[in-house]
Amino acid sequence: MNFYVPVAEYLDESPIQFGQLSPSHSANGIPSPGSLLESTLPSHLPLLASSQPVPLPFPMSHGTTTLAFVFQGGVLAAADTRSSCAGLVACPASQKILPIHSHMVGTTSGTSADCALWKRILARELRLYQLRHGRRLSTRGAAKLLSHMLHPFKGTELCVAATLCGWDGGELHDPADDRETRRSPETDLEITGDASGGKVSVLRSSSGPSLVYVCSDGTRLNGKLFSVGSGSPYAYSIVDQGVHWGLTVEEATAIAREAVYRATHRDAYSGNCVDVYHVTSKGWTRRKREDLKEEYYREKAKQSHEGETRRDSA
């Protein structure tokens, strides 16, 4: 049996040649420091031999508020929609939560361009994995894959800080089968539960909601609650005090929305609207995008109304 392990190849291949059938594929697979720097140039230009790092044409956007947490109803991810470029709001309606496949979304923080590209690369690799192995890769496996793919760029200007929110579990070829599939996480061996004998007990089954934070500096953390971005400190207190396992979907959505709203109020680089995605065993669903400006005026009206009733009743 031939186990295909794509991870080791990425460490040998030059980052420019991911999946490309380029005739200029170097015979020596190990990337030299020179070729790493050339990865910042567009690939159709002739590869230069210079060792000068190419300066960025303009400051890349970095400000954002994204958060995600796990609860009994699955995984909830929320983010603002402002893409800023130093002081300019480059796009007030950008998408910071990108779906990767039917049961996984990823929040993006850092340079928007880098995040969008790497999400697409990850989505492609996960789909290839699914076709080769007949099952979806777990969220933790996907995080490990993304982390290993980003590793060759450590030390460069690449900036990707993503949280992968997914629901693991379920087979590709029998969707009607509700039995839990037991398998060891992060290996290629499959141990299906419907075999009459030879069941191997595993320490924990990797099914259910899952949340992993991956950063281009090499951090990979499994957790239950993450907030990433320049606005994250402002959002943390709201989610810290409100999130627990037993939340209903409505409560969880309300907390996520409020946390993003408070962060956008204080952080200059976050703002405009809020996107909320909810991942369950049936896949991800997206809530209609809401303008936080309306939220601000609603709250002001409520506060002045409350102030009046307090004064009247006092």
């Binding site: 239950k224 609650l225 400190p233 402002y234 959002a235 943390y236 207190s237 709201i238 810290d240 005090q241 999130v243 627990h244 396992w245 409020e258 946390a259 408070r262 962060a263 109020h265 204080r266 506060q303 409350e306 102030g307 307090r310 006092a314």
Partner: protein, 217 residues
């Protein structure tokens, strides 16, 4: 208030800290954590009290370089007691804040400390003032400061309501401190809360194990 006081070039004892002051119906709550650290790496004290009394009904919270803050407060205490003897009445809270502001502003080159002054006086009732690093004086009904304050801006914006009762305000302040201490590594220890009303002053200490816990801590 500025949040980053961990100037590790000087490696002075600085209060990476969380301080909060809030006005409620009939009084004011001023509170802080109790951790002092050097350069953000070594906790030099787990139990210092950053809420200092400068007069009967006026308290101060300090943030920044501990040495600078202690020196300024000592001077301010002296000025205030002299001032109250001259005026033959307890000083106004704004007087205490102005004394601190003068000291911070006139010595802004040498000092690296910011303050919150909170108290009760007969003229305006409960008040909170903030004196920032360079010497700006501002009156606010709720204010937070120190490095841990970034993590509770959202909470304070959402949960603070004017004219709360004393119990509500105490719970609000304790929750805010607990949240900040949970996320900021240079804030921690116990929570010192001081409640100042017309009738008197009450010092509440909430030890670490009695602090409110959130989700899976």
């Amino acid at each position: 208030m500025e949040k980053h006081y961990t100037d590790s070039r000087a490696k002075a004892v600085s209060t990476g800290t969380t301080i909060l002051a809030a006005v409620f119906d009939g009084g004011v709550v001023i509170c802080s954590d109790s951790r002092a650290s050097i350069g953000g790496e070594y906790v030099s004290s787990k139990t210092i009290n950053k809420v200092i009394q400068v007069h009967d009904r006026i308290f101060c919270c300090m943030a920044g370089s501990l040495a600078d803050a202690q020196a300024v407060i000592k001077t301010a205490k002296f000025h205030l007691s002299f001032h109250s003897v001259q005026m033959e009445s307890p000083p106004l809270v704004i007087a205490a804040a102005s004394v601190l502001k003068e000291l911070c502003y006139q010595n802004k080159e040498e000092l690296q400390a910011g303050f919150m002054a909170a108290g009760w006086d007969k003229k305006k009732g409960p008040q909170v003032y903030v004196v920032s690093l360079g010497g700006m004086l501002v009156s606010q009904s709720v204010t937070i400061g120190g490095s841990g304050s970034t993590y509770i801006y959202g909470y304070v914006d959402a949960k603070y309501k004017p004219n709360m009762s004393k119990e509500e305000c105490l719970q609000f302040a304790t929750n805010a401190l607990a949240l900040a201490m949970g996320r900021d590594n240079v804030s921690g220890g116990v929570a010192h809360l001081v409640v100042i009303t017309e009738t008197g002053v009450e010092h509440v200490v909430v030890p670490g194990d009695k602090l409110p816990r959130f989700h899976d801590e």
